[in-house]
């Protein structure tokens, strides 16, 4: 088992280094592949942090432009997705700051909240169709009641399966803050699901 873990971690770090080399050279084929590979995960993360699908689409494109421009700063020592999410997150924060210069952004202040808008009736995914409508609506409604700051850590930990240390890098906060947000987020999710749709 430890052998397998070592094998996969070596494989991953080799891959990260090869991504770093490609980004350094601004390899267009690599970027195409990365966009395809991370499209769904990045978009999902952006929807969770912005709370809005249209805005998430804009940030999705901007994030990849930044990846192209700043690709040489990725050193390949960490997971590519953690670096990608950090770029996306900072774009969102910059936008929120420029929009409301006097206030803190929603990703640092849970009271400044955008409602989460996940539904897109015209474009159902296969999974969307498989899941029962009732369950889907219940989860959506519950997530809408959770502040973005908690939605973000929940998606990074339980959907993206990032380690707490990696999350601290993405969020630029200490480990203790990540943990406390995770516990509060988990509690908020549990309570929101228990209460059911509003």
């Amino acid at each position: 088992m430890p052998g397998a873990t070592l094998f996969f971690s070596t494989l991953m770090s080799d891959e990260a280094r090869s991504i770093a080399r490609g980004l350094e050279k601004r390899d267009p084929h690599l970027l195409d592949r990365l966009i395809e590979r991370y499209q769904y995960r990045l978009f999902r993360y952006l929807v969770y942090v912005t709370g809005n699908r249209e805005r998430a689409e804009d940030f999705f494109q901007e994030t990849w432009i930044r990846v192209l421009e700043r690709g040489h700063q990725y050193d390949g020592k960490s997971k590519f997705e953690a670096w990608l999410f950090a770029i996306a997150r900072h774009l969102v924060i910059d936008w929120q700051r420029s929009k409301k210069p006097q206030s803190l952004d929603t990703l640092t202040d849970p009271d400044q909240e955008h409602p989460l808008q996940l539904a897109n009736e015209d474009d159902p995914s296969p999974l969307h169709q498989v899941l029962s409508q009732e369950q889907e609506e219940n989860v959506q409604a519950s997530l809408e009641r959770i502040p973005a700051i908690y939605r973000e850590v929940l998606v990074l930990r339980f959907q993206e399966e990032l380690q707490i240390e990696e999350m601290a890098g993405v969020l630029s906060v200490p480990l203790s803050t990540v943990k406390s947000r995770l516990y509060r987020g988990l509690q908020a999710l549990r309570e929101a699901l228990r209460r059911g749709p509003a």
């Binding site: 966009i35 978009f43 929807v47 192209l68 990608l84 999410f85 474009d123 995914s125």
Partner: protein, 162 residues
Amino acid sequence: MSRRTHARAEELIAEERVEGISQAEREWLAAHIEECMLCADLARQTDQALRSLRTMAIPFPRGLASRTQFRVRLRAQELREREPKRRALWLACGVSWIFGAASAPYVWSLFQWFGQRAGLPKLVWELGFGLWWTIPALFAAAVLLMESSRKGEQADWISQGS
């Protein structure tokens, strides 16, 4: 069962999912859950909440990936086109520095000759030479510093993720 025991179980239920717990704690929790309906419910609700979160589908907009790939390619082309200009600028800077360093003794002699001819005190023409030599260099250094600090700010937040 005391309230503290339930509180401990609640903590461990969350901790197990967030950062993991030790074998001894897992065994203690399993034994407690077998006896306590309330905590068993809480564990079930937590698992249900996480399952719901994991299976939550967000439809991906049609064409977004290809639109993005197109924009990225355009931007890459722009950057490639700009690259030779930047290289030429650095080359010009390098050549001018080399020329400046090589011509310094001659310029020094020129200042000395002019100072003597005009009857200026030595300190004045030396200061003149110093200014002639350092002001453009200081200006270039200031521009470079401003540029690198701007890049540094951008790089700072980007590298925080790595």
